[in-house]
């Protein structure tokens, strides 16, 4: 097959970076309208290229590129792709494309650097999702902070966006210190036990390492990943960063960046250290329950519309974490499905908030009202996305939530996880409380102070239309994703799962 021969992981990962460097060339002037169009074309090309991977993907790892990097440590600059990476890659390129389209009205200055950084950001996130080697993974994990910091800080909509960006970087950095210790211990002890130096994620075999040590490593890693996910006591960077960032960046943060945490937990804690995770899972599940309920309660009393959505993200990420903790095929399938569904939902909700912010210059929910009259299309989209988020069937959110909870119930680890599965159900009520409040106060009622001049523009229509269409398709035909997810368990061997 000719087409399948052009699929190359390095190209997939570094294409945005290279295309982004072109923007920095002097052929583009500083605030050129062509920059935006060029960047949009870049993202669309990349999306199509990653979709090709889905079309021509045959079972098994694609590990094509792994040159030596630090040879004495057995570290390679390696990339590999299995179905999980594939799905995350497609989600990433999709959300970035939507974000780039949505940037049109939100980014008023410094377009040149903005789009270059956005493309760089995509490369780093793709690097995380496709890394085959733990040190490659770590490299991209840290590298991603650079574009994220500037994108949040310099193009932010909030008053103290730089402070929030700094907070985000500090939190993540502190977490990755623990993670780095964990990764080094992981590497060192696997070397001691197996006497081979190999940094490849799929090759680690810690069966000979003591369980206590494994639990220690697992916990260290969890702290690092937990900051990104985020798990509740260390979550407070998220509402600030999401609220203060520009809308397209909020979409990307909620849609993609949070998923790197969940992805890493699946890759490391689950795949490499399953034995230790069996002991940790009930505790982590308890944290997940706190995430789910706590964030849903906090979200209700927020007045800033973007903060409501940010807390709803935390709540949903808790559900994803719960699915991973179930440690069975159903739970994991549910949580991967929900990662995709929530990526779309969160991006859509932030988009709606962004449109309202742009039209009304008002982010206090009590001062908004009656938007449905002047923006009926936005009202329609917002209703569908909100309904998807509160788990209405025939929309993607429902499938993810239900499978995750059934997975938690079917968990064979301990009864605690089963109870947590049942007790996480009220989140459906709580989330309908805060999201319907959002819809009710924002859109229903008599028209008040804010009178938007126009309904949504064409490019916003495209973004919301794609999101809603995908939500309906995945909700009515979940097998489209679930069949791909099933292959993950085949690829990675039945032993681990």
């Amino acid at each position: 097959m000719f087409l399948s021969n052009i699929l190359s992981l390095p190209i997939l990962i570094f294409l945005p970076l290279i295309l982004g460097l072109v923007i920095l060339l002097p052929i583009f002037s500083k605030n050129d309208i062509y920059i935006r169009r060029y960047a949009k074309v870049c993202f669309v090309i990349h999306l199509l290229y990653s979709l090709l991977f889905w079309m021509f993907y045959s079972n098994g790892y694609i590990t094509l590129y792994a040159p030596d990097w630090i040879k004495p440590l057995g570290v390679k600059f390696g990339f590999a792709m299995d179905e999980l990476s594939l799905l995350m890659t497609i989600l990433t390129s999709l959300i970035f494309t939507l974000g780039a389209i949505a940037s049109k009205l939100h980014i008023r200055y410094g377009q040149k650097y903005y789009y270059a950084l956005l493309l760089f950001f995509e490369t780093t996130i793709l690097g995380i999702f496709n890394a085959a080697d733990i040190f490659t993974f770590f490299l991209f994990w840290e590298l991603e902070l650079i574009p994220a910091y500037f994108l949040i800080g310099y193009w932010g909509e909030g008053a103290n966006s730089r402070k929030s960006a700094m907070k985000f970087v500090l939190y993540t950095f502190l977490g990755s210190l623990f993670m780095l210790v964990g990764l080094i211990m992981l590497h060192y002890f696997s070397y001691l036990a197996a006497n081979t130096l190999n940094g490849q994620i799929s090759m680690y075999d810690l069966s000979k390492v003591g369980v206590g040590l494994q639990i220690l490593i697992s916990m260290l890693l969890l702290i690092g990943f937990g900051v990104k996910l985020p798990i509740v006591p260390i979550h407070s960077w998220l509402p600030d960063a999401h609220t203060d960032a520009a809308t397209p960046i909020s979409m990307i943060l909620a849609g993609v960046l949070l998923k790197t945490g969940a992805y890493a937990i699946i890759r490391f804690n689950f795949q490499i250290l399953p034995e230790a995770f069996q002991y940790l899972a009930p505790i982590v599940a308890a944290f997940a329950l706190i995430n789910i309920i706590y964030a849903a309660l906090v979200a209700y009393s927020q007045t800033d519309i973007k903060r409501i959505v940010a807390y709803s993200s935390i709540s949903n990420m808790g559900l994803i974490l719960l699915g991973i903790c179930a440690m069975n095929v159903i739970g994991l399938t549910g949580s991967i499905f929900h990662m995709i569904a929530h990526g779309l939902i969160a991006a859509g909700l932030f988009m709606v908030c962004g449109i309202v912010l742009l039209r009304c210059k008002e982010r206090d929910i009590n001062k908004l009202g009656g938007l449905a009259k002047s923006m009926p299309r936005l009202f329609g989209f917002a209703t569908i996305i909100v309904l998807a988020s509160i788990g209405v069937p025939a929309l993607a959110g429902f499938v993810g939530e239900v499978i995750t909870i059934i997975g938690a119930l079917a968990s064979e680890l301990s009864d605690a996880i089963k109870f947590i599965g049942i007790f996480s159900l009220p989140v459906l009520i709580l989330s309908s409380c805060y999201l319907l409040k959002f819809l009710h106060k924002g859109f229903y009622g008599e028209e008040e102070s804010c009178k938007p001049s126009s309904d949504i523009a064409n490019h916003e229509f495209v973004v919301l239309g794609i999101i809603v269409l995908l939500l309906i398709i995945f909700g009515c035909y979940p097998a489209a994703i679930i069949n791909t997810i099933q292959n993950i368990f085949v690829t990675n061997g039945a032993v681990i799962w």
Binding site: L174, A372, L428, S432, G445
Partner: protein
């Protein structure tokens, strides 16, 4: 011939969904569809559905029940299916649904004629047809949940149909959240049942198919203790309680009356609220396992009937009376199911649906919100009085049903008395309305509306002669007395419209106020506590203090331990300087500093280029 209907029913049921999507996409893209076209599309769907469901009903009599399934979610052993199950109960309910919705849509085409959001209304109507059909034809419990939740959403959208009205939109949110509480409990029950089947039984039960439900019930009963089983049943029944507006969740039905009148007729009296009774019939094998559960169902149904009838007597608004009456009658149906008389429940479900639809529609005939400025002035049309006769059990199909109820409850004296009380109050509140409000003089040309009302009434009247065994028994006489009492009291005393017995009854014993004030405020307080906790976490300086403490420690170590050699050297040098008085000490210090700096740079360069050097030397091993 009839197999054709059963086999192709699924396409007919999907038609409203496609119609909804078509209308929705059309609106988003700004396509203007003419009103006749929209009406035509919708009516065609309902009409087709009616024909096919009747055909399939015939097929059930000829060939028995059949199922058409496809997989929805399949993860190894775990399987959830969607499909169309054609059996007697589902086809009867489906025919009723399409029959009522066809004529109500016809009615709406005239009633909503001046509505600017006409397309939206008919889009929702299609979505409702689809989701209700999904619920009714469901071959398994999981699909029932899907339909269950979807009809709730449509109800929410239609209650808040006039979104610029703040009161209506609050009603929509209230109704949705109460429904959502029940839905979530139902989902809890469904997933628990799926889990029990997944863990303890063969894989074919995981789908919770109704054809296996006897076995599923016994497996569930065998693998749970008594308490867990009751909890499971209660979770499932909580869904029924909310959807069928039973006590204490009946308040949402009052809020639902904010919807346009045809919607109240279709969704909030005839079809959607009856879904609870439908589900109870489906789940009867499970509930039968526990006698307590059946007693609870009967008690709850009867209590709701009594409570809501009492509230209905004192209402100001005709629609509120009808809503309370719906709750009360659904309570009677549930009691009949709990008593084991499923046939009666289904019969009353049909009859009550038709009567209520006729009553609401005839209310709409004379009180069209689009042609009236003053909504306080309500009038009664002649068809309403015929409907009142049927509802109270004085005549027509209502009489037959009430008679059968009486025979069913006869073994239990307590229930008999309660039932007679309910039918007495039913006659009182409905005839009170007839006397309280003036007859309307209708001058508007509304042929489709009149047609729909009279079709429903005709069916109610005709069906009287199809059910045999109607005698003028106790329910008739009690209703007769009730009607006389209501007429006499209303005409003689001319009591005001603000309720006769007491204000407490009129306010529905303040349950709604309790929810919207107390519970709501408590929830707001509760969340604000969490919000404060979150701010505390966010502003927490603990991490900062820890970091500062570490920095201070490091500073101390730096000053007192690492600088020790330097200090020693300095001391030595001072000592030496005293010894060698004229030596160029300052120069020596400079040399030492420079030397250390260069060595440091070289060392760090080696450390940094370590991997490169080692690699170039051919590695360690």
């Amino acid at each position: 011939m009839s197999e054709f209907f059963a086999a192709n029913l699924v396409w007919v049921l999907l038609y409203p969904f496609w119609a909804f999507i078509l209308i929705g996409i059309g609106r988003f893209l700004g396509v203007r569809m003419s009103k006749p076209l929209l009406t035509g599309i919708t009516l065609f769907g309902s009409g087709l559905g009616l024909v096919f469901s009747l055909g399939a009903l015939v097929n059930v009599f000829i060939n028995g029940a059949s199922e058409y399934l496809c997989s929805f979610i399949k993860i190894q052993k775990f399987l959830l299916q969607l499909g169309v199950g054609v059996d007697l109960l589902s086809m009867i309910c489906l025919s009723l649904l399409f029959f009522i919705s066809f004529f109500i849509q016809l009615y709406s085409s005239s009633y909503m004629g001046s509505e600017p959001k006409y397309y939206r209304y008919f889009g929702y109507m299609n979505l409702f047809n689809f989701s209700m059909a999904l619920l009714l034809v469901s071959p398994n419990l999981f699909q029932i949940y899907i339909g269950w939740e979807l009809v709730g959403v449509v109800s929410y959208l239609l209650i808040g149909f006039k979104y610029s009205n703040p009161i209506k939109s609050i009603s929509a949110v209230k109704a949705f959240i109460i429904n959502k509480i029940g839905d979530t409990m139902l989902l809890g029950g469904v997933v628990s049942l799926i889990y029990i089947m997944y863990a303890y039984s063969t894989s074919q039960f995981v789908t919770l198919d109704f054809s296996d439900f006897n076995l599923i019930s016994s497996v569930a009963y065998a693998h749970t203790n008594n308490f867990t089983f009751i909890v499971l049943c209660m979770l499932l029944f909580a869904g029924v309680m909310t959807k069928s507006a039973q006590f204490p969740f009946h308040t949402w039905l009052q809020d639902a009356m904010s919807a346009p009148t045809p919607v109240s007729a279709l969704i909030h009296s005839a079809t959607m609220v009856a879904a609870g009774v439908f589900l109870t019939i489906r789940l009867l094998p499970l509930f039968t396992m526990s006698k307590d559960m059946l007693i609870f169902i009967v008690m709850l149904g009867m209590f709701t009937a009594l409570f809501c009838s009492l509230c209905a007597i004192c209402q100001k608004n005709i629609k509120s009376v009808l809503a309370y009456s719906t709750s009360a009658n659904l309570g009677l149906m549930l009691a009949a199911v709990g008593f084991g008389n499923v046939n009666l429940a289904v019969l009353f479900l049909i009859v009550h649906g038709l009567i209520k639809a006729a009553l609401f529609l005839s209310y709409g005939l004379s009180n069209n919100e689009y042609f009236k400025n003053n909504t306080e002035e309500q009038t009664i049309s002649p068809s309403f009085i015929i409907g009142a006769f049927a509802l109270s059990g004085l005549a027509f199909a209502g009489l037959n049903c009430k008679e059968q109820f009486f025979l069913t409850f006869k073994p239990n004296i307590f229930l008999t008395i309660e039932f007679l009380l309910v039918s007495f109050m039913c006659a009182v509140y409905i005839f009170r309305l007839c006397c309280l409000y003036p007859l309307s003089s209708n001058k508007r040309k509304n042929v489709p509306e009149q047609l729909s009302v009279w079709i429903f009434l005709t069916v109610v009247i005709v069906s009287t002669f199809m059910v045999n065994g109607s005698i003028l028994g106790a329910p008739f006489w009690i209703a007769f007395v009730g009607a006389i009492v209501a007429i006499v009291l209303t005409l003689r005393t001319k009591y005001t419209k603000s309720g006769c017995v007491s204000i407490v009854c009129e306010k529905g014993f303040y349950i709604d106020r309790f929810y919207s004030r107390v519970v709501f405020n408590l929830y707001e307080r509760f969340t604000s506590i969490f919000s404060r906790i979150d701010i505390w976490i966010s502003d927490n300086k603990l991490l900062f203090y820890i970091a500062r403490y570490f920095v201070r420690c490091a500073e101390w170590v730096e000053k007192n331990i690492f600088e020790l050699p330097v200090k020693l050297i300095v001391l030595c040098l001072r000592f030496a300087s005293k010894e060698v008085e004229h030596a160029q000490i300052r120069n020596i210090q400079t040399y030492i500093t420079y030397g250390a700096l260069i060595l440091g740079i070289i060392f760090s360069a080696i450390l940094l280029m370590y991997s490169f050097i080692i690699n170039s030397l051919g590695g360690i091993g």
